[in-house]
């Protein structure tokens, strides 16, 4: 969990490794176009760590696949700019993409059992990337695979290398998937919900492994998750996504000390806290994520938001920057992470008319309770 190495690396190279601008991905479904990612914009420096947080269906996985250009060819279109170390990903042909995948960008997937070929030995799967990208012989690839297995903490790699995925535990499988991703020393690793399918006890081990490998290889990391708690101590910057849009973006410590978006607040409140009574009810975000083929006109979160006013339903707020002189709030800073904001990425953006912590938001909440739209506890009773 130590992120001590990050600040001094940050100064080395200020040019972003990955620059995403106005990324828009549309699925052409029988019921009409589904804009899964809508105008997303962010950048990531070399060696930096970005957390992407959102519920299922918020477009975070589609976003990462759009950046990698891993989406199917038919029935999906992706527009915008994705620049990886100066290379325009969107204009690359298939052949060039194959050379990017592995040595430049790699991905760790959610389901470690499904991600591994059930009928191929582990050693072959780990060494395969090296055989293809570096033209290694079978023997050399095998010894490289052995080293990788050791690096990701597989016990008895000499024995495991000839086993099949079903012979390993879930945590071991995810370590193998990570070894596969690391094989060609990528410069950017996208981990798409790497711990969702794992036991809680194993989750921390896997996240620590990712962090250790990232620091050792000076790799950039995009950590996608639905759990704010996971990205809290392990990222430099966090993007919160809802309905395919970025609704808040801030350096990690700023986000936790000064969150503006009601959705971020709701996500935050739904994390169980150690200080809670052991039988305390978890706060939930009421309602469902919106139907992506039939989005409401205004703020996409409005129907589930305890602050929402008429304006929110009529008009979609723009992604705006927090004024530098904004008063810092300290009511929710129990995350323990109170390091200084990263100097290079200090921007704090949010998408709300009644940002959390402002007097306007408090007033809006009062009005909603008075009108019976929201209960005293902040639960939305009557969505519209």
């Amino acid at each position: 969990m130590s992120d001590a190495s990050t600040p001094d690396l940050a100064g080395l190279d200020d040019a972003p490794l990955l620059d995403v601008a106005d990324l828009r991905t549309t699925f052409h479904t029988p019921v009409g176009p589904l804009v899964a990612v809508d105008g997303v914009e962010w950048s990531l420096r070399r060696g930096a760590r970005l957390g992407v947080v959102g519920e299922s269906g918020s477009g975070k996985s589609v976003m990462s696949r759009s950046i990698m250009r891993l989406l199917p060819k038919s029935k999906v279109t992706s527009t915008g700019e994705v620049s990886f170390d100066g290379v325009d990903m969107m204009s690359l042909g298939r052949r060039d993409l194959l050379e990017m995948w592995g040595p430049q960008l790699a991905m760790v997937f959610q389901d470690p059992l499904g991600s591994l070929n059930p009928v191929m030995k582990i050693g072959k799967q780990v060494g395969e990337g090296l055989r293809v990208h570096r033209d290694l012989s079978a023997r050399a690839a095998r010894s490289a695979a052995l080293d990788l297995l050791e690096e990701v903490g597989i016990p008895e790699p000499h024995r495991r290398i000839d086993e099949y995925p079903h012979q390993l535990s879930g945590g071991m499988r995810q370590r193998i998937v990570i070894a596969i991703a690391l094989a060609c020393s990528p410069r950017l690793l996208i981990a798409d919900e790497p711990t969702t399918a794992l036991d809680v006890t194993v989750q921390a081990q896997i996240l620590d492994l990712l962090e250790a490998q990232r620091a050792e290889r000076n790799m950039s990391l995009v950590l996608i998750t639905h759990d704010l708690g996971i990205v809290a101590g392990r990222t430099d910057e966090i993007i919160v996504m809802y309905a395919g849009r970025i609704v808040e973006r801030a350096p990690t410590s700023t986000l936790f000390s000064d969150m503006r978006m009601p959705y971020t607040e709701a996500l935050f409140r739904s994390i169980p806290k150690v200080t809670d009574d052991s039988h305390a009810r978890l706060e939930i975000i009421g309602g469902q994520p919106p139907q992506m083929t039939d989005l409401p006109p205004g703020c996409k979160f409005a129907p589930r938001c305890k602050y929402a006013q008429d304006l929110c339903f009529a008009e979609e707020p723009a992604l705006i920057e927090v004024p530098k002189a904004a008063p810092a709030r300290s009511s929710i800073t129990d995350s323990g992470d109170d390091g200084e904001p990263d100097p290079a990425t200090g921007v704090h953006l949010y998408r709300c008319f009644y940002p959390v912590g402002t007097p306007e938001a408090a007033e809006a909440f009062e009005r909603n309770i008075a009108s019976g739209r929201v209960s005293e506890a902040g639960v939305v009773i009557n969505p519209t």
């Binding site: 997937f109 389901d111 059930p118 009928v119």
Partner: protein, 379 residues
């Protein structure tokens, strides 16, 4: 035993098995010899693949074989008509018939006859054919050779078409390529093999149709006759090509459609995404990652097809005048040669069961997850 050692031994046994089959074809040792060697190697191979599982399977096969032998014998015994009259002709006297019946052992009680026959079978003696006056084991091994050859060639040709086409069609699912492959193969599936056989003969060996004195077709391949492999290799394959093709195309269609639909399912699995994200070329993903997990159904059906073809492809054998097992048994049935028929049917059903058992063992090498389960059961 260590897995790596086991795999190595398994490969050696597989090569030995193939070598024995090749040896049997070229040198024609006595049938019982070949059969014995195959059984021994098969058992050893199965034991290496997975000892207890293999033993259980083989133990299960024995009662089935005994049952089959009894049913075959009982059916032949209950057929109307007297073989003795068939041999002697309609003018035979009652005394002559009685002598021949005693010679054939037909006057003994049913169970005695069955016991005698089974005892002979166990020592490799299938009896002497009534019509051909030769050892049934010799006759069957002679006619089994071309049948097994056609079977092997047609399955190889069918897989040669089906695997690339199935992979391609599955990968290009829903496109024009996929549609074209599907429709062409559907055409082959809908054409009975004897129609295809006649068309092949017409257009490739006897010059095709004659329109205004011009031939629309070729005379490039022989239409009939069987040339053993040991006699002339080139001529052998020339003669075998048309019958094998006639049988292969229908199978190719079935195999291709099975593989296609399993490929489509496999290509949607997450490990294919991971393989893509490693930057592997599509060809490698299709052949190395998707083919093997997509071939389990295909293996079952290939096993069944091989098993069926061991019984001979009667019509195709007739069209191309190939002295195969189908023809041998057909002759036996029409001539009331019960000894030849019951011997032939027993050998065919034994081979059928052996092939199906072997295809089950092949599953173990194709799908390591099944091996894992067996290991679990043993612990």
């Amino acid at each position: 035993m260590k897995q790596a050692v086991r795999d190595q031994l398994g490969r050696i046994v597989a090569v030995a098995l193939l070598a024995t089959i090749a040896w049997a074809w070229f040198w024609r040792p006595p049938f019982s010899w070949t059969f014995g060697v195959l059984v021994v190697i098969g058992t050893v191979g199965a034991g290496i693949a997975d000892g207890r599982y293999a033993l259980r399977r083989i133990a299960g096969v024995i009662p089935v074989l005994v049952g089959v032998s009894f049913v075959v014998f009982a059916l032949m015994a209950s057929l109307p008509g007297d073989p003795a009259i068939n041999i002697l002709g309609p003018a035979a006297t009652a005394d002559q018939i009685a002598i021949v019946r005693t010679e054939l052992g037909l006057d003994e009680p049913f169970f005695n006859r069955y016991g005698n026959w089974l005892g002979g079978v166990l020592t490799g003696d299938l009896g002497t054919s009534i019509v051909l006056r030769e050892d049934v084991a010799d006759g069957i091994s002679r006619s089994m050779t071309p049948t097994l050859q056609i079977m092997a060639y047609s399955v190889v040709i069918a897989l040669g078409f089906a695997i690339p086409l199935g992979i391609w069609a599955g990968y290009r699912q829903g496109t024009k390529t996929d549609g074209t492959i599907n429709n062409v193969m559907l055409g082959f599936l809908a054409t009975p093999n004897f129609v295809l056989a006649v068309m092949l003969v017409l257009f490739l060996s006897i010059g095709g149709l004659s329109v205004a004195g011009n031939e629309i077709g070729f005379r490039v391949l022989p239409a009939a006759r069987y040339v053993p492999l040991g006699e002339d290799v080139v001529l052998h394959f020339k003669h075998m090509l048309l019958p094998s093709l006639a049988l292969a195309m229908g199978q190719a269609a079935v195999f291709m459609r099975l593989l296609r639909s399993d490929m489509i399912a496999t290509l949607r699995l997450p490990f294919i995404d991971l393989a893509r994200s490693k930057g592997l070329p599509t060809r490698r993903i299709l052949w190395r990652h998707a083919l093997r997990p997509s071939s389990f159904t295909l293996l079952t059906v290939v096993g069944l097809t091989v098993g069926l073809l061991i019984g001979g492809a009667l019509i195709v054998e007739f069209i191309f005048t190939i002295p195969g097992v189908g023809a041998y048994i057909f002759l036996g049935v029409t001539q009331r040669d019960f000894i030849a028929v019951q011997g032939g049917v027993l050998v065919i059903s034994t081979l059928y069961i052996v092939v199906l058992t072997m295809s089950d063992f092949l599953y173990l090498s194709l799908d390591p997850r099944l091996r894992g389960r067996e290991v679990g059961a043993r612990a």
